[in-house]
């Protein structure tokens, strides 16, 4: 909560103050012109997505950047290929939320609540962007401690410009990387909407999501992806837990999915649950959203390589295979058990495939991805069709069944199926003891530990926040509002007219 107060103070400040000047350059010796050999090496580093010959220190020289003679500062340039790719990916990940997820969820609710879902997605987009600019990016991606980044390092995008930040990518502009990661920060809370659709007050959702970003998302993202995060197995040799999570199995899907379950239990069921007909008002929109999610997810998964290199290529491939297989297996399971494969089954299978492959995509082989696809088609299906019925919680659009369950088995299967043949980084000094390329490699236990930490943070954080919001402004709209529909009641509009 200290953070929250700080944040509000900073908001006001930001609109007045110009960002502080760049850190004054220390007195380093002037650089000498790069040799032909150095220049060629740097060009090769560009193609190979390798470490740069020169990245801002002045002792080594390169021409791939601009050198300010007066200030004696060399600012590395991004490369056109990686930057193009990363901007494309950032746009694709935004597309996943607006309109992808908005349609996927919006199609599944009843006609009278479709706009409320769209409004919630949109609200989160704006609110998270503002948070990200003020402090979020800094808290996640600046170095700090194992739990959280430094609050002021990149606050107000100070020092975040078009030059790459070598901690995350040698050849992609840092501001592009920041925008790319922003899109993740946007979609994650938006996923929660699925569990609590059709029955949460707009103002309550606003406050909940605001606090949730600070309490759950930023710490979790830093722990897994921050350069000094305590669970960043690949980049942080001093990580407490040597877990890996390529594109957000724990950070995105587990946090949102488990928080969604908790929040939906605290909220209670929708009016008429179990009696009235809650069929999707438009399976067509839902399917359109699914297609957009799939396409956008390439930005999510292959883009997480932060380069269009061999790892991105592999992630692209595994994402396709796992998703297609899961989109096939789920409706086949329905066909067998229920007599008919449904379009909702195809859609759910595809999304489940995407979720489960997310943490694994950059670490497993094509055949590993096919295996993951089979699990992704069966286990979440079982949760949505059977387990939910047994327990009777009202996970309206199956955020828990798909994202929490999917994210969790994804994190686990990543441990089982990660192979250094798929990603050379797994053979690095920091990881090679954990990845022995067998199903019971030590990595599995690291993944279990990361799962445990994530569960604790997501569940604990959500319980606390939900009760605060309940106390402050209440969680549910009036009974009449819920029955009339949130669209008219909360937004004064209807989804369709005439």
């Amino acid at each position: 909560m200290r953070n929250t107060i700080l944040v509000f103070a900073l908001i006001t400040a930001s609109l007045i103050a110009q960002p502080a000047a760049q850190a004054a350059s220390a007195t380093v010796p002037k650089r000498s012109a790069p040799s032909l050999e150095q220049r060629v090496s740097d060009l090769e580093a560009y193609v190979n997505n390798g470490t740069r010959v020169a990245d801002g220190t002045n002792t080594v020289s390169s021409n791939l950047g601009s050198y300010d003679e007066k200030a004696n500062v060399f600012t590395p340039n991004p490369g056109p290929g990686p930057n193009a790719w990363q901007m494309t990916c950032a746009a694709l990940v935004l597309f996943m939320t607006l309109p992808g997820l908005a349609l996927f969820y919006g199609g599944l609710v009843r006609r009278k609540n479709v706009l409320s879902v769209l409004a919630q997605c949109f609200l989160i987009t704006g609110m998270v962007t503002i948070l990200w600019y003020i402090c979020g990016y800094s808290l996640v991606f600046h170095h700090g401690n194992g739990l959280l980044g430094d609050l002021k390092g990149f606050a107000f995008f100070n020092n975040v410009d078009s030059s790459p930040n070598g901690d995350y990518s040698p050849w992609v502009s840092q501001n592009v990387f920041a925008m790319y990661q922003l899109m993740f920060a946007i979609i994650t809370p938006a996923l929660i909407i699925g569990a609590i659709a059709e029955r949460m007050k707009f103002a309550a959702l606003f406050l909940f999501m605001f606090l949730w970003m600070l309490v759950v998302y930023f710490p979790q993202a830093h722990m897994i992806w921050g350069i000094d995060g305590m669970m960043n197995g690949v980049s942080n040799p001093n990580a407490k837990i040597h877990a890996i999570d390529f594109a957000g199995g724990t950070v995105v899907h587990m946090t949102s999915g488990w928080s969604a379950l908790v929040l939906c239990l605290i909220l209670g069921k929708r009016q008429g649950f179990g009696k009235e007909n809650f069929t999707p008002h438009s399976m067509v929109l839902c399917m359109v959203g699914t297609g957009m999610l799939w396409v956008g997810w390439y930005g999510f998964n292959a883009g997480s390589a932060v380069a269009a290199d061999v790892i991105a290529a592999n992630a692209f491939t595994t994402t396709t295979l796992a998703t297609a297989v899961a989109s096939f297996v789920w409706p086949m399971a329905e066909w067998v058990t229920r007599g008919r494969p449904s379009v909702l089954g195809f859609c759910s299978g595809a999304v489940a495939g995407l979720v489960v492959i997310t943490p694994a995509c950059g670490f497993v082989t094509a055949s590993g991805a096919v295996i993951i696809g089979v699990f992704a088609g069966l286990i979440p299906w079982f949760f949505c069709y059977k387990v939910k019925g047994w327990f009777g919680y009202d996970d309206a659009l199956d955020t828990f069944g798909v994202h929490a369950v999917g994210g969790t088995i994804g994190a686990l299967l990543t441990g089982v199926l990660a192979r250094s043949s798929a990603n050379a980084n797994l053979a690095s000094d920091s990881m090679k003891n954990f990845v022995t390329n067998s199903p019971f490699q030590p990595l599995v236990f690291e993944q279990l530990k990361a799962i445990g930490v994530t569960l604790a943070l997501a569940i604990g954080g959500t319980v606390v926040i939900a009760f605060i919001v309940k106390a402050v402004i209440g969680l549910r709209p009036t009974e009449e509002a819920e029955s009339v529909g949130l669209d008219l009641a909360e937004h004064g509009e209807e989804g369709y007219n005439g």
Binding site: G274, N277, C384, Y385, K388
Partner: protein, 112 residues
């Protein structure tokens, strides 16, 4: 003058319309309704939640016509709308006191 209201299965509309045309009935008004009756809706399991679809889509046809033509019309409707399966629908007949054609302001049988 009488009004016939017939509730039928949607996919029979074309046939009923043709049958009525054949006996010279060329005016009617049709609307989409939901029916609740002996024919029970299916039970759906949607993502694990079970619920019953009570209301089934039906078509309501309204025809106003002179007393003398009622019998023929009913016969045409029944023969074209019948499948013999539950849910085929009903025909209701009631009295109409006056008819006016808006365009010409003709009244009574002339207005039909």
């Amino acid at each position: 003058m009488k009004k016939i209201e017939a509730i039928i299965k949607p996919f029979k509309l074309e046939e009923v319309k043709d049958a009525l045309s054949q006996i010279g009935i060329e005016g009617m008004t049709v609307s989409e309704v939901k029916g609740f009756g002996r024919q029970k809706g299916h039970t759906e399991i949607y993502r694990g939640s079970e619920y019953k679809v009570d209301f089934l889509p039906k078509i309501k046809i309204e025809i106003v016509l002179p007393d003398g033509r009622v019998e023929g019309a009913i016969a045409a409707i029944i023969s074209s709308a019948k499948t013999g399966k539950i849910g085929d629908g009903k025909v209701f007949v009631s009295d109409v006191e006056e008819i006016i054609r808006i365009r010409t302001e003709e009244k009574g049988d002339a207005a039909i």
